[in-house]
């Protein structure tokens, strides 16, 4: 459907595009992390592409793979109605990715959620806090190695309050 866009990105960033595929009409380009921000900026601002609408941003965890995480971005052009998926790999030991908050304000919360759930740090994000979970939460729950039944430590009421014993004995998991 949007093979045209994939070709445009490929010709503009011959080194940057690692892979592209089309599955059930969804076009995807996989780009190097170093070129991710520039590719997205190109897609947004160049008149030939005009992917001006930020649809969604999330991550996928592949524990067996290197790099471990995918940052998955969905874009849409309001003029032409075309859609494109941009993916970039983020390794576990350097879990950072450029932030898109400079391009769209909408990216703010979506990146905060991705950080909250996967621990990917978005460099250049103005306010990278947890969003759905609380500050004291330990770990990033959508990582595949986070056990579903894992219990979280009890958060003390105040900073100066002594830590409380857990209400139930820890279950083995």
């Amino acid at each position: 459907m949007s093979q045209r866009l994939v070709d445009l990105v490929k010709s503009r960033f011959p080194q940057g595009v690692l892979e592209s595929h089309d599955f059930r009409g969804d076009d995807t380009v996989v780009v190097r992390r170093e070129d991710y921000l520039e590719v997205v900026r190109f897609l947004k601002d160049s008149p030939g592409t005009a992917m001006d609408f930020f649809v969604d941003l999330t991550c996928v965890d592949w524990p067996e793979r290197k790099p471990r995480f995918d940052v998955v971005l969905h874009l849409k052009s309001f003029g032409s109605g075309e859609r494109l998926r941009v993916k970039t790999g983020v390794p576990e030991d350097d879990c950072t990715c450029p932030s898109l908050t400079g391009l769209w304000p909408a990216a703010n919360w979506f990146e905060r959620e991705a950080y909250d759930m996967y621990g990917v740090r978005f460099s250049g994000h103005p306010d990278l806090r947890r969003i759905l979970l609380y500050e004291e939460f330990e770990g990033h729950p959508l990582r595949k190695d986070y056990p579903k039944e894992k219990r979280q430590p009890l958060v003390p009421m105040r900073d100066d309050a002594p830590p409380q014993p857990p209400p139930f004995p820890e279950r083995p998991h």
């Binding site: 059930r24 001006d52 649809v55 969604d56 309001f78 909408a106 979506f110 759905l132």
Partner: protein
């Protein structure tokens, strides 16, 4: 009488931090606004969500593809059927599956009825928070009549879990069309009555007109979709822009606003209710006969009970679907549909096992609520109430 000079009367004051919610009647129990106030003027605010986070995506990864349906009911719990349909369409896209025409029509009818319910209850809540309690009761009653129909069809008032991958749970009851044809005008009449009560009401107009205004450019930059975006004048509706199911064959209009304020959002929703009713009536007239699901032998739907108990092939098929789940080919899709709040997207990743590797929801109101802080900056504290109400944040969908 002693005279005071103007500057002596103003008290020097630090900006005050006020925590609005989560236990605040107008915050629907699911969100907190930390508001920085200078007098009654909002200088800044931090909207904190997550109070209804239930680990939707994590849960999805632990069950089969079919077992996600009950969870989707609890996303936007004001219009569960639209989430059911959105998810079913996403998995069907991943499977490369097309459901029969009757199923598509039924999905459209039920989806639009759900949209009417959602818009009614959103408008009702917003009006009530501005003091219009009668309107709340009228609109909730109008919704209740439709809920009765949905209950008759699906067996549940709210948590329907009615869609299946490749079809529906069961067919419509016999008197369904007549019931809808008699109930829908009654609901529309109640909605019309509410319009007469509110739209020229001085208090309502003062509280909503010119309040919570956003330009189309900013709305797009924030990723807005749905009635909120259309209230700014952008006629974007997934049902028209990227038609799915049978929306192409049905005649309806996209109502748009011009100011992008609370009043326009309210009016847009009420007008959309009428358009949805139009769609339902047309779809009822065109409703074809035929199967409501893909054939049994595709291995996607559970076989009929009688066959399951009498033939070995169907017993095995039943067992495999229950125990291993539907076999979905590896790949990834992003599928989107027009839910009550805007573009509801499902990004699904399959690794070829019977469980979703990743089931991401793009919640429309997550993007909408994000702009709340910008909409209320520089306004009065009471302006947060109608603005928050007209954005229609649904905690289940926003926090997942």
């Amino acid at each position: 009488m002693e005279e005071y000079r103007e500057e002596e009367l103003t008290l020097p004051a630090e900006p005050m931090l006020l925590h609005m919610g989560p236990s605040h009647p107008a915050m629907h129990g699911t969100v907190r606004c930390v508001v920085k106030l200078d007098g009654e003027t909002v200088v800044g605010s931090d909207v904190q969500i997550g109070y209804l986070h239930r680990g939707f995506e994590k849960e999805c990864e632990w069950g089969t593809w079919t077992q996600v349906f009950p969870y989707t009911d609890r996303l936007n719990y004001a219009s569960p059927l639209l989430n059911n349909i959105g998810y079913a369409l996403a998995v069907e896209k991943l499977l490369g599956l097309q459901v029969p025409a009757r199923c598509q029509y039924i999905r459209v009818i039920l989806g639009e009825l759900a949209r009417i319910c959602d818009h009614s209850v959103c408008s009702a809540a917003m009006a009530m928070e501005l003091g219009a309690f009668t309107v709340f009761l009228y609109l909730v009653k109008a919704r209740e009549w439709i809920f009765d129909i949905l209950e008759e069809v699906t067996g549940a008032r709210v948590t329907h879990a009615f869609c299946r991958i490749g079809g529906l749970r069961w067919d419509l009851p016999e008197n369904f069309a007549d019931r809808v044809r008699s109930v829908l005008p009654k609901s529309l009449e109640a909605i019309h009555e509410c319009e007469q009560l509110l739209l020229r009401n001085r208090i309502f107009m003062d509280r909503t007109m010119g309040v919570g205004t956003i330009t189309p450019e900013r709305a797009l930059a924030w990723g807005w979709t749905g009635p909120c975006l259309r209230s700014t004048g952008v006629a974007y509706d997934v049902r028209k822009a990227h038609p799915y199911l049978v929306y192409e064959d049905l005649d309806f209009d996209i109502p748009v606003g011009s100011q992008g304020d609370n009043y326009d959002r309210f009016v847009c929703r009420l007008e959309e209710i009428r358009q949805s009713a139009r769609i339902v009536m047309q779809a009822l007239d065109k409703l074809p006969d035929g199967p409501i699901a893909v054939p049994d032998d595709t291995g996607i739907l559970l076989p009929q009970k009688l066959e399951t108990y009498t033939t070995i092939e169907r017993t095995i098929q039943h067992f495999k679907i229950i125990m291993e789940g539907i076999q979905v080919p590896p790949g990834e899709v992003y599928s989107y549909s027009e839910a009550a709040n805007g573009e509801l997207g499902f990004y699904l990743v399959s690794n070829g096992s019977g469980k979703p590797w990743k089931c991401r929801v793009r919640p429309p109101c997550f993007a909408n609520v994000q702009a709340l802080s910008e909409l209320t900056r520089g306004r009065l504290l009471p302006d947060i109430i109608p603005t928050f109400g007209s954005i229609n944040m649904i905690g289940g969908e926003c926090d997942r």
